[in-house]
């Protein structure tokens, strides 16, 4: 009944119809077919990456490519559920491949052990959507610039302890009318000195500034805050907080010291929340259905707050 053979449109088989029944009843057959024809790149297989991988594979995309240069450590085994406990020392993407594939044999899952920085431009251009986790600010800005020009949907996300965020750039011509997106670069480089920006500070989630602090930490130290060096990293975080707020010309009071002890390591339930929202945004964008969140989602796991807000020019 569901077999509708159209030129160049993927066919949904009986098997897929049975497995995807409960989601087809939600977003419809056309949306499922669009998913079925989409290829996605996922960078980073930490806690958040694993959640996004699971969500996209279950949703039934055509292909998911996993890219991660990191090795499996003892901590990785606690952080995510795709890596077997025996895989210590292996590449994280490759170690996650088997379990990821088991989630849904109908999706083509591939894994590469390379650094995303070393990949040429056209590597990224073969996908319909790109999802970056655990990446440096520079890499994210570069990939976003490269991809959104070509109408490739770009998503970024990270989890730091109890906090997490998601960013999306669906380009200027996203099908869901009237929704304008800006680049990550523009989103991060909002000018807070203007009168208008200052006035809006009251309604601005402080998570935005927290994100700046954590991205700077990652750039400076080449890693995220580590529980093993709690004392040292806490101090550095406070220092970076001071520097960042000053350089953005906003008040030092915006971000109290409180956050410092709650942003270490990727917390599994926070990865689940952020990964769920991020995964669903990717699904929406690929299936061209339902209004996308514009352009950030911030989650505060201590308060249970999840807000969507737009940062960009004007």
């Amino acid at each position: 009944m569901i077999d509708m053979i159209e030129k160049e449109e993927p066919i949904i088989s009986e098997e897929e119809a049975a497995q995807y029944d409960r989601q087809i009843r939600l977003w419809g057959l056309d949306a499922q077919k669009r998913l079925r024809g989409s290829r996605v790149l996922l960078v980073g297989l930490g806690g958040l990456g694993a959640e996004v991988a699971k969500n996209l594979i279950l949703a039934g995309v055509k292909g998911l490519t996993l890219l991660d240069h990191e090795q499996v450590t003892e901590e990785s085994c606690r952080a995510q559920f795709l890596v077997p406990v025996t895989a210590r020392g292996q590449n994280r993407a490759q170690a996650s491949l088997e379990r990821a594939q088991y989630l849904n044999p109908m999706v083509e899952v591939r894994a590469y052990p390379d650094r995303p920085e070393d990949k040429p431009d056209d590597f990224f251009l073969q996908f319909d959507a790109v999802c970056l986790t655990g990446c440096s600010r520079d890499l994210m800005v570069r990939v976003d610039q490269l991809c959104s020009q070509r109408n490739i949907k770009v998503f970024c996300g990270d989890v730091y302890g109890y906090y997490g965020y998601m960013f999306s750039d669906l380009g200027k011509e996203h099908h869901y009318a009237l929704r304008i997106f800006c680049s990550l670069k523009e989103a991060l480089e909002v000018d807070w000195t203007s009168e208008k920006a200052k006035a809006s500070l009251k309604r601005t989630p402080v998570d935005y500034f927290l994100l700046h602090v954590l991205l700077k930490f990652r750039t400076d130290k080449g890693r995220d805050p580590d529980p093993q060096s709690f004392a040292e990293d806490s101090q550095l975080l406070r220092q970076i907080r001071d520097d960042v707020l000053e350089s953005l010309a906003v008040s030092g009071d915006l971000l109290s010291d409180d956050f410092v002890s709650y942003c270490f390591s990727e917390m599994s339930p926070v990865c689940a929340v952020v990964g769920g929202v991020l995964g669903q945004e990717v699904v929406k964008a690929l299936s061209q259905r339902d209004a996308p969140h514009r352009n950030f989602f911030f989650f505060d796991g201590r308060k249970g707050n999840g807000v969507v807000d737009y940062f960009g020019p004007n």
């Binding site: 606690r78 270490f264 917390m267 339930p269 689940a272 929340v273 989602f297 249970g304 807000v307 969507v308």
Partner: protein, 592 residues
């Protein structure tokens, strides 16, 4: 100096590894929850689920693969979780949480109970068990893109039953039998028909024209006269295989053909013609058009619609499914019954065909099998991401509880779109217990309106105490100074009372009954308000309940959050407003 183990303070991490927690349900929310618990560092987890794995679960219940279809959810969930955390100590129960083995003592073993259920009866039961054991309970639910989490702690917060929940939506008998106006009425009729022919007979599920329909009468006396006249059973006769063989003497194919054809005539022609004689019903409505099998047959099967078959196609489908179901019944032997199951193809074909034939007769556009299955099967669409978010929130609330920070616990609602304050996830402060909650108040009491001369003891037990008040094994005493026992939960003890009327025991207006469920440690005092004056098709009323009315449609902006009770309960979502702090409304129901 703060010491961290991963993201967590050391004291918290330590208590996670020693405490025991219970997860009730291993489906959509349950799989996600089990994964989160294990990765967060919980070491002692017990999980219970009575269900087995179905292929339609695989789009979200990620601990299961195709090869596991048919196996126990709890068992496979445990095995899969151990794969990525072999040091976790997980106990799986393939069982119902309502089994008396899981008594208050059992619940007291745990520091925390987390529900991942899809039906209200189980939620009510766990609510009471956690109140009795005084263990914190985290409730949750999802439906489509929406979800909700909340915390229940005796004496501190509302319990699950503090706020009245809308009861399962039912339609008046005459709408189903005489004047359907929507596809759902025809679908309900088709399911009733299934039971009349193949399943357990139920006096509440009649399909023949309702001659006592008050709307059909030109004057009240006429209606009353018809009502008494129709005391005799005018309903479709359940023809047993034996009766068939006896009455026709034909060979099987002709036999089935004949009976199916005869039934089509009866149901879709004769009964419709009877309805037409009740002319007052059709003064303001479009009259139904009886089907003429002969005419349809002569026109042949030229009707081919890709998604919706033509009328002739549904006639054939009806006939064919009746034949298949008949032989299923025959194979089961004497006195056998079939239970309708949306995943059983001939049962689903039967309802699709019968509902569509009826829709056609009553001038409604016919529907595809896919759509009918949704409505008939109360299917709630479900995806992985919503469940993932909710399960994450459950663990975060759990951590607050284990840190002794109950005052920081919240109800959190997941919306589809951000609200006016940009919130996609809306945390709300928990409400205190309701003073006159019929479950968690110190001496719960209700008033029930019914007719003592017409209500049987078994009706009190099944429809009122079990269905409406969520008891599993009720014991009832009359407060008559003698402590007369009306109902005993011990099997067989009060069976003789079942078909007696309440008035037979001296119960009348103002009488008080004490109902207990010992497993739930729950006592409810019932004040009886006798009345002869209930609405048609209403057999009792709980005084103080808001009248059942159709819920307002949700607004486009999704200001309101409507979450359903799961496929085992109401077919329709419902809304109720919840106060000023949160711009959404939610009624805790839901399906993982």
């Amino acid at each position: 100096m703060v010491q961290l183990v991963g993201s967590l303070r050391k004291e918290l991490a330590d208590s996670l590894s020693s405490c025991r927690v219970l997860v009730v349900g291993a489906g959509g929310i349950g799989c996600e929850l089990l994964k989160n618990l294990v990765l967060t560092g919980f070491k002692n987890i017990e999980v219970i689920d009575l269900d087995t794995i179905d292929v339609s679960n695989l789009n979200r219940q990620f601990l299961f693969q195709k090869k596991h279809v048919g196996k126990s959810k709890a068992q496979v969930a445990k095995e899969s979780a151990l794969q990525f955390c072999p040091t976790a100590n997980i106990t799986a129960y393939h069982d119902s949480i309502m089994n008396p083995d899981y008594n208050v003592e059992f619940f007291r073993n745990f520091m925390l109970v987390m529900n991942a259920l899809d039906n209200r009866a189980a939620r009510n039961h766990v609510n009471r068990m956690c109140l009795a054991a005084d263990i914190p309970l985290i409730e949750s639910g999802t439906a489509g893109y929406l979800g909700q989490v909340t915390v229940i702690k005796k004496g501190l917060t509302e319990c699950y039953e503090c706020q009245p929940k809308p009861s399962q939506k039912t339609f008046p008998g005459c709408t189903i039998r005489n004047t359907p106006s929507e596809p759902i009425h025809c679908i309900v009729w088709a399911k009733y028909l299934f039971n009349q022919l193949f399943g357990e007979e139920d006096a509440d599920q009649e399909v023949s024209p309702d001659t006592a329909d008050p709307e059909a009468a030109w004057n009240p006396e006429e209606a009353a006269a018809r009502a008494t006249a129709s005391e005799k059973d005018g309903d479709i006769k359940r023809v047993s295989t034996k009766e068939w063989a006896r009455s026709t003497g034909y060979d099987s194919i002709k036999l089935f053909n004949k009976v199916a054809t005869r039934q089509i005539h009866q149901l879709f022609k004769d009964d419709i013609m009877y309805l037409l004689t009740m002319d007052k019903l059709w003064k303001k409505r479009k009259a139904p058009l009886p089907l003429d099998w002969q005419q349809l047959e002569n026109h042949g099967s030229g009707l081919k619609d890709q998604q919706v078959l033509g009328i002739w196609g549904y006639c054939k489908l009806f006939q064919h499914s009746v034949e298949t179901l008949r032989s299923q019944l025959e194979q089961k032997g004497d006195g056998a019954e079939l239970v309708w199951d949306k995943d059983d193809p001939p049962a689903m074909d039967f309802v699709t065909a019968a509902a569509n034939l009826r829709m056609h007769i009553f001038s409604m556009n016919m529907k595809s099998r896919f759509d009918i299955k949704s409505m008939a099967g109360n299917i709630i669409p479900a995806i992985a991401t919503t469940n993932a978010v909710i399960a994450g929130l459950i663990v975060l609330e759990g951590l607050k509880i284990l840190s002794g920070e109950l005052e920081s616990c919240r109800s959190i609602f997941l919306n589809k779109c951000p609200n006016l304050r940009k919130k996609l996830l809306v945390p709300c402060v928990l409400d205190p217990p309701s003073a006159n909650c019929y479950v968690c108040a110190s001496k719960p009491e209700v008033t029930v309106k019914l007719n003592v001369h017409k209500s049987m003891v078994v009706f009190l037990q099944d429809k009122i105490l079990k269905e409406r008040f969520g008891m599993v094994a009720p014991d009832v005493q009359i407060e008559d100074g003698k402590g007369t026992i009306l109902i005993s939960s011990e099997e067989g003890e009060t069976e003789a009372n079942n078909s007696k009327f309440l008035s037979d025991f001296g119960i009348r207006n103002g009488s008080r009954l004490q109902a207990d469920d010992f497993l739930q440690d729950y006592t409810l005092l019932i004040n009886v308000l006798h009345t002869e004056d209930l609405e048609k098709d209403v057999e009792f009323e709980v005084v103080g309940d808001a009248p059942d009315k159709a819920p307002p449609p949700p607004s486009n902006q999704e200001e309101t959050n409507s979450i359903t009770n799961g496929n085992k309960d109401s077919a329709q979502p419902s809304t109720s407003s919840k106060g000023l702090t949160c711009s959404h409304s939610a009624v805790m129901l839901a399906q993982p």
